[in-house]
Structures are given as structure tokens and as C-alpha cells.
């Protein structure tokens, strides 16, 4: 009958290494796993000192760990993450391995205390260790990416005007640059409706168009006139984008703004008469040239009016140029206030003004201009000064050039002057 040594069979069947050692490092047991992995057979090592085979182990430390285990009666351990290997065992893994040597978990357990014997168990934790290294590497990558993202986020936050609102326009977040530009504290914005930026006298039409577009889940781009906390008017080029949830429903809006206030001011300067603040001749010329060139039905239905202040030279000669300028400003204001919102008025030069009355018949135009003339007559420049003006009026004829209509309206004005001034002549 074969005698079975149960502890041997048990320890030999385990998928890890087990040796029994005393405090003189004499090996009294060496299991099959160790024999295979170290290529040192039981016969070779049993009864011999471990340092004969493994001189590189720090035996002072090992001795202390053996004595500790024997003294306190519980296992002691080596650090499983250590780069120093207890015994060197090559790894044969060919694919995807970053470890050439087996990473070991080494436990020293008290075995037979009165013989100062311990059991040293070696577990192969290479796979686990590799996974740990990989996770560490990935975490490093994630940290690097996060840092990069944070840096980029900071650049965006400090240099780009951004706003995020809920679907009903409640402000959820804004960039630092936005809050600085609009002179608000960030916390003062949050929870407020985006309408806080709208100017009281700003037309609703553009906002209606904006909301309609974005509620239709489309992006909107355009120029908006906003006000800062201190009431300064600012022009911003805006792009508002709807953000949809996973069901395709409106969730939030995000908006990017770009300050175009200076460009707007420059453009206004280019088209504005500095004294009367009406459009200048250049701008009026551009508009009429465009209309004449394109001949769009909706544009060509207009009447043209030239206004000339009567005896303006004598105002300048009698009261000086300052009063003359005041008269020009005052007449410009009266003219503008007497017209409809859609009509166009510009200073034509000297004491002359040009008006485009849109979508009117000649009779309707005459009635309007008559009212304007009366208003000019009624208006007082100063307590003691008032002026009158002469008006030439004509209707644009489809297909004619700008030169032709101006020739006709000039002729009408000439007749008004010749006819005694302070009157309207239609041609």
C-alpha cells in the first residue's frame, strides 16, 4: 500500500509556493510549485541554507520578520508593491506583459514555533500588479488630460463671453469674461432671466425672431444691443445654440458673444452727420443707389423730398454760426420727429435735408410733407428766432435713375423757393 503524505500532497497541489524555514534559514520543505518555478528540486535544497541559493535576500530583514511572526504568532509580510523580489522567478508570458519577473506576495507565517520554523508562502500576483500599473498609467493620463482641459477651460472662461441658460431663459452659468464685460458679479447673474440685458428702447422684433428660431431648435446669429450693470450700451455679435436632451427636446441654450461695440460706433460715425446726428449724404446715396439698382418692388414705392431752410445765410450773418448750427440741429429734430418710424432722413449738405417717405402715394406724401413744413414753421430755435423751409417733393418712377429723380425733386424745390418759400411744390 502506498503511503500518502497528506500535507505534502496538499501543499504540492497548491498554485503557489510554500517553503518551511527555520531562523537559521535551513529549508525543511520546498513544494512542487517552487521546484517547477525556480528549477531547484526538493532534493537539491532541503536541508540546505536558503542563502546558498539566494544570496541576494536581505537576511537581516528576513530574520526579523521570522522572529516577529514567531513572537506575535501572526503572519508578517513583505510589501507586495516592492520592486525588490524575494526570490527571482522569470515570467514566461509572451503577450502584453510589462513584467519580466514574477511579482510576489510573500507571507511569513508561524509554523512550528518551538522549532523556530515558519512557512514562507509566495503568491504570484503579477496579473493583479500589471492591472494596478495599467490603472495607475491610465489615471496619470486622465489627470494629464484633466489638467489640460482645466487649463483650456480657464483660457476660455477668461477670454470668451459665454452664457448657458435653461429653456425658459434663466441664466445657469456665465464665463468670467462675460461678467467682467457686463460689470456684474457672477452670482448676481445666476437665476436671473436673460432679459435683464435688454435695453428699454430696443425693438422687440429682433428678440421675437431670436426666440422663435431657437425654440424651433435652430441656432440664431445676429447683433444684439445689451446694457451693462452701469447702463453702458454694448453691441454684441451673438450666436445662440439650443441644447437638446436625449429625447430631442429643448433642454438648455448656450450662447457665445463677441463685443462689436467699437465696430458699431465706427460704422455709425461713417454714416452719421456729426452735427445733426441724422444719416449723412454718403449713407443716403448708398441706400438710394441700392434701391435703384435692385428695383425691388417693396423698396421702389417711395417719395423723395428735399428740404431747404429759408434765408439760412441771414441767420448765420445776423446771429453767428453757433446759432446757425443750433438752427440746423433744431430743424433736423423737428423733421425727424414729424416723420414715421420707417421713413428715412439725412442731411444733404449745408442747410439742405433729404427725406425718403416709404410706401406712400403722392397725395399721402404731400399731406405728410405739408404737416412737416407746418411743424418747422411752428418750431422756435430760440425765444426770438424761428425759421421756415421750402420743400420739393416727387414720387419715384419705376426704372428711373437716381440722377433723374434728384433732378426732378431739385426742380420742385427751386420752384418752391421761387414761389415765395415756406411751401411744398410737387413734381
Amino acid at each position: 500500500m502506498i503511503e500518502i503524505k497528506y500535507p505534502d500532497v496538499l501543499l504540492d497541489s497548491l498554485e503557489n509556493g510554500h517553503m518551511i524555514l527555520d531562523d537559521n534559514f535551513i529549508v525543511s520543505y520546498w513544494n512542487r510549485w517552487l521546484a517547477i518555478n525556480t528549477q531547484i528540486s526538493k532534493d537539491e535544497i532541503i536541508g540546505k541554507k536558503l542563502d546558498t541559493f539566494y544570496p541576494d535576500i536581505n537576511y537581516k530583514v528576513l530574520y526579523r520578520k521570522i522572529i516577529t511572526a514567531l513572537t506575535i504568532g501572526t503572519p508578517t509580510f513583505y510589501d507586495a508593491d516592492s520592486n525588490a523580489k524575494f526570490i527571482t522567478i522569470n515570467r514566461n508570458k509572451v503577450t502584453t506583459s510589462s513584467l519580466k519577473l514574477m511579482q510576489q506576495q510573500v507571507t511569513i507565517s508561524p509554523y512550528i514555533a518551538y522549532e523556530n520554523k515558519v512557512m514562507i508562502s509566495i503568491y504570484d500576483i503579477s496579473e493583479l500588479f500589471e492591472a494596478k500599473l495599467m490603472i495607475k498609467k491610465e489615471i496619470k493620463k486622465v489627470h494629464k488630460l484633466n489638467n489640460k482641459l482645466e487649463a483650456e477651460k480657464e483660457i476660455i472662461d477668461k477670454n470668451i463671453m459665454l452664457m448657458r441658460t435653461s429653456a425658459d431663459g434663466t441664466i445657469i452659468d456665465i464665463s468670467t469674461f462675460f461678467s467682467q464685460f457686463f460689470e456684474f458679479d457672477k452670482k448676481d447673474f445666476l437665476g436671473k432671466n436673460v432679459s435683464i440685458f435688454k435695453l428699454a428702447d430696443e425693438s422687440d422684433a429682433i428678440y421675437k425672431e431670436l426666440w422663435k428660431t431657437i425654440r424651433d431648435k435652430k441656432s440664431w446669429s445676429g447683433e444684439l444691443k445689451y446694457k451693462t450693470f452701469n447702463g453702458k450700451e454694448k453691441w454684441v455679435q451673438s450666436r445662440v445654440m439650443p441644447i437638446l436632451d436625449s429625447d430631442g427636446e429643448l433642454f438648455e441654450f448656450s450662447a457665445v458673444y463677441h463685443d462689436i461695440t467699437n465696430e458699431k460706433l465706427l460704422a455709425e460715425l461713417y454714416i452719421t452727420d456729426p452735427l445733426t446726428k441724422l444719416y449723412n449724404r454718403v449713407h443716403f446715396d448708398e441706400i438710394i443707389s441700392f434701391i435703384v439698382e435692385h428695383q425691388r418692388k417693396s423698396d421702389i414705392d417711395f417719395a423723395l423730398v428735399i428740404v431747404d431752410i429759408d434765408h439760412f445765410k441771414s441767420i448765420n450773418d445776423t446771429y453767428g454760426h453757433q446759432v446757425g448750427d443750433e438752427a440746423l440741429v433744431s430743424v433736423a429734430k423737428t423733421l425727424k420727429n414729424s416723420l414715421r418710424e420707417n421713413d428715412l432722413i439725412a442731411r444733404w449738405g449745408g442747410e439742405e435735408f433729404v427725406i425718403m417717405l416709404k410706401n406712400v402715394t403722392l397725395n399721402e406724401a404731400k399731406a405728410i410733407v405739408e404737416k412737416v413744413r407746418a411743424n418747422v414753421e411752428k418750431n422756435r430755435i430760440t425765444d426770438s428766432i424761428s425759421v421756415t423751409a421750402s420743400f420739393g417733393l416727387t414720387k419715384y418712377i419705376k426704372g428711373e435713375s437716381a440722377k433723374e429723380i434728384f433732378k426732378r425733386v431739385d426742380s420742385a424745390l427751386y420752384e418752391a423757393k421761387r414761389g415765395g418759400r415756406n411751401r411744398v411744390v410737387v413734381k
Partner: protein, 209 residues
Amino acid sequence: MNKKILNLKFTEDQIDALREFMNVSIGAATASLANLLDAFGTMHIPEIEICNSSELAGKIESTIDLKSMYYTTKQLFTGKFGGECMFVISEDSAKNLGRHLYNVTIPSGDEIKDAVMELSNILTSTIVSRLTQELNVQVQFFVPSSQFIDANSIIHDEDVVEYSKIIIISTILDFQDQQIKGNIYILTKDEAIESLKILIDKKIEEIYG
């Protein structure tokens, strides 16, 4: 299934007894360290505190210097009284420990970590073994793990998410000659706290009849 409602409050007698067992355990640990590591140190009288899991990070941070880096070793133990033993030692102390145990002027990172683990293992094993010996129960120790981290990373909220109540038994280890100082925390939770109470009551009954 209804969750069992636990009574985690200790009576004054239970606290007194636990403190006494801890004093004995810490005495044993000090002797072990002197014997095994050739380092004569003192250990402070342990503080025993029960707190919510969310308070743990704050409690630990209040006992250490937040600007330092730390070696932290955590070791689990199971049995009728189970939990986690944590040893926190500053970078400077850990280097001194590495120098002392490895007998080198400049210990390597691996040597420092191994030295910390060795000290931590002796402390955990001796304190917990002695405590459980007093309570007549057996425990099994798991392989410790160690990390080198900043003070704020010692405890993350997600680390203690499963815990509701925690008992913290903490003490300070001080080897003045070697300039080594560390904090030891024995953490145990919910059912283990209740189990500890029962074991203490049994022991009190044994002693005082």
C-alpha cells in the same frame, strides 16, 4: 427584508472596559516593538470615539499635519470582531524608520515602505490579537496594503460609503530616540461594534460574575 436596527451606544462600563483592554493591548504592542525592532517607544492612552462615517476623514485630518505627505498602511482583520487597522506615518518619520530597520543612511522607497509595513503589521497584530485574546475570540489578518499619499487623500468619502457608524480607537506611537511618530486607528463598524459590545459584556460578566 427589514434591516436590523443596531444599538451602537456604549455604556460607561463598556467604554471603561474597552479602554482597559486597549491599555493592555498597547502595552503588549510597545513591548513587542522594543523586542522586535529594538526601538523603545511610548504609546499614548488610546482615545475611543464613535462617529458617523462622513466624519472619519475630518477626525483623522485633525490629528495630522495637512501639509505633509504620509505613508499609510491599512490592514483588515476578520472574525467575531472585525475591522480595519490603519497606521499613518509622516514622510520624515517613515524615512527615520527605514534608516533604523534597514540600517542604512539613505533608505530606498521600497525599504521605507517595507519598514512602515513591518511596524504597522507588528502594531496591528499585537494590539488586535491582544484585544481579541482579552475578548476570547480569534481573528484572521489579511495582507496589508500601503500607499504614499498627501494628508487629504488618506480617507476618501467613497472609501467609507458602506459604513454608517464607525468606532475609532486611536493612539500615538512615539520613538523619541529615532524621531519616529505615527498615528494608529482601529476602525470598526455597525455589526462589529455591536459584536464588540456583546464580547465586552461577556468579559465584564466573567470578571465580575
